[in-house]
């Protein structure tokens, strides 16, 4: 028997959902907000989404063009490195697979970048193959600015800081360049099932 916190009982979760909650996480029903700085106010008239870097011709969509792309609605569990998990969250947006369709690239890595200067690094394999979306609706409503609206990244199998708010594009790269939190003590990949929270985890 290892260490026991004297007098700690804890609050067990029901077994039906416990297999969906990674180690060290707890389930919330609200939607906490975490950001490193002020919430940017985004002007949709000037908004574009760009795929650039290791690509012959950068791809760029205006807001109107982006809205016209085939959308998917997905329901996913999300896991924040600050310990909360939220089950069955529903999002609408465009899959990265659709955005990348027909793209030839020598890149193995990407940097997803946002208004306000936020970046996060992701392996290309982690955002293709039905694993990532660029979303503009949460729960059937336009995405609120606090939660990354008008458009955020969604890569639910990794800790939620990878799901960059206020996203503006994907830079395809041959090498891995640690992003904002990844340069500030947080794990370069961030798999919640391996509890990859911090450097060295």
């Amino acid at each position: 028997m290892g260490f026991v916190s004297r007098g700690f009982k804890g609050r067990r979760r029901d077994t039906a959902s416990s297999s969906r909650v990674p180690p060290g996480q707890y389930v919330v029903t609200d939607f906490p907000v975490l950001s490193a700085g002020p919430t940017p106010r985004v002007n949709l008239d000037q908004w574009t989404f760009t795929i650039e870097g290791e690509i012959d011709e950068p791809r760029r969509w205006t807001w109107k063009e982006f809205q016209a792309l085939p959308a998917e609605t997905v329901t996913k569990d999300i896991h924040c490195v600050t310990k909360w998990s939220k089950l069955d969250t529903t999002w609408k947006g465009v899959s990265v697979d659709a955005l990348m369709e027909g793209v030839e690239t020598a890149a193995d890595f990407t940097t997803v970048f946002s208004d306000g200067g936020y970046t996060t690094n992701l392996a290309l394999d982690d955002i293709t193959g039905g694993k990532a979306w660029v979303v503009y609706e949460f729960d059937g409503q336009p995405l609120h600015p606090e939660h990354g609206g008008p458009v955020r990244f969604l890569v639910p199998h990794l800790y939620f800081w990878k799901s960059a708010k206020w996203v503006r594009g994907i830079r395809l790269q041959k090498d891995e360049h640690p992003g904002f939190w990844e340069s500030n003590g947080y794990h370069v990949r961030g798999d919640p099932w391996r509890e990859q929270r911090y450097w060295g985890d």
Binding site: F3, S5, F8, P32, G37, G116, G200
Partner: protein, 242 residues
């Protein structure tokens, strides 16, 4: 890897009816920066575990590691930390964590700290650190609490403001106006920030910590007043947690 280690509770200091500071002996503590946090892990006798993050309240120079914890009635971990944990009990923690919401102490720009409720905790670490290192750049803390009884670190803040060079502490109370009170008595608004914040040309380093609506409101006002968004560092905590 930031490894789990044992801390022993040396002293509990009640700060307000809902908030206490836990002073911990951590034998191999590697040191921290003002503004960082730790993860705390509790284990029940059947192996069930719960983890939460708490901001560090102590300065890097302090002998003991201090966490200041608000007891959330519907919380899982905070009612244990504030209520059940006794001096001599051991606690598992790992850290320090976070490399962004930190103030190193050698900065010469004005330091503007804006805290709501227990959001003052990492800001207090910065003010304690500032006093230790003798930083003379001007500093201001604007601290929003519900009532006078809810003001965390009230006496220590008074002492710091009286003794540390160039520090001003300004309070606002959102739910009462005690007799003789000379501070503000409303939510933080633009007029208050115009009085308290330095003009944008002075380029203060700004740290804002508190509940999400508080941080959203303050950060948005500061950007609207022309402050550079990149100089405003925020930490938000939601109504859940605990």
């Amino acid at each position: 890897m930031i490894r789990w280690q044992f801390a022993t509770l040396a002293e509990v200091v009640p700060e307000t009816p809902r908030v206490s500071s836990l002073y911990l002996d951590v034998p191999d503590w590697q040191g921290h920066l003002a503004g960082q946090h730790v993860d705390v892990r509790l284990t029940a006798d059947d192996g069930y575990q719960a983890e939460r993050s708490y901001s560090i309240a102590s300065a890097p120079e302090d002998r003991r590691l201090a966490l200041t914890v608000e007891r959330l009635e519907d919380g899982e971990v905070s009612p244990y930390l504030v209520g059940e944990l006794r001096t001599g009990d051991r606690l598992e923690l790992r850290g320090p964590i976070g490399g962004y919401f930190v103030w190193r102490g050698d900065e010469q720009r004005p330091l503007l700290l804006i805290g709501g409720g227990s959001g003052v905790v990492p800001l207090m670490s910065m003010l304690r650190h500032r006093a230790h290192v003798g930083n003379r750049a001007p500093a201001r803390l604007l601290f929003s609490s519900r009532t006078l009884a809810d003001v965390i670190y009230r006496e220590e803040l008074e002492r710091l403001a009286a003794s540390a060079h160039g520090l001003q502490v300004l309070h606002t109370l959102t739910r009462e106006k005690p007799a003789g009170w000379t501070g503000y008595t409303r939510r933080v608004d633009e007029a208050m920030l115009q009085e308290v914040a330095w003009p944008r040309q002075d380029a203060p380093d700004v740290f804002v910590c508190g509940p999400t609506p508080f941080v959203e409101a303050v950060a948005t006002l500061l950007v609207g007043m022309g402050h550079d968004a990149r100089s405003i560092k925020t930490e938000r905590f939601g109504a859940t947690g605990g």
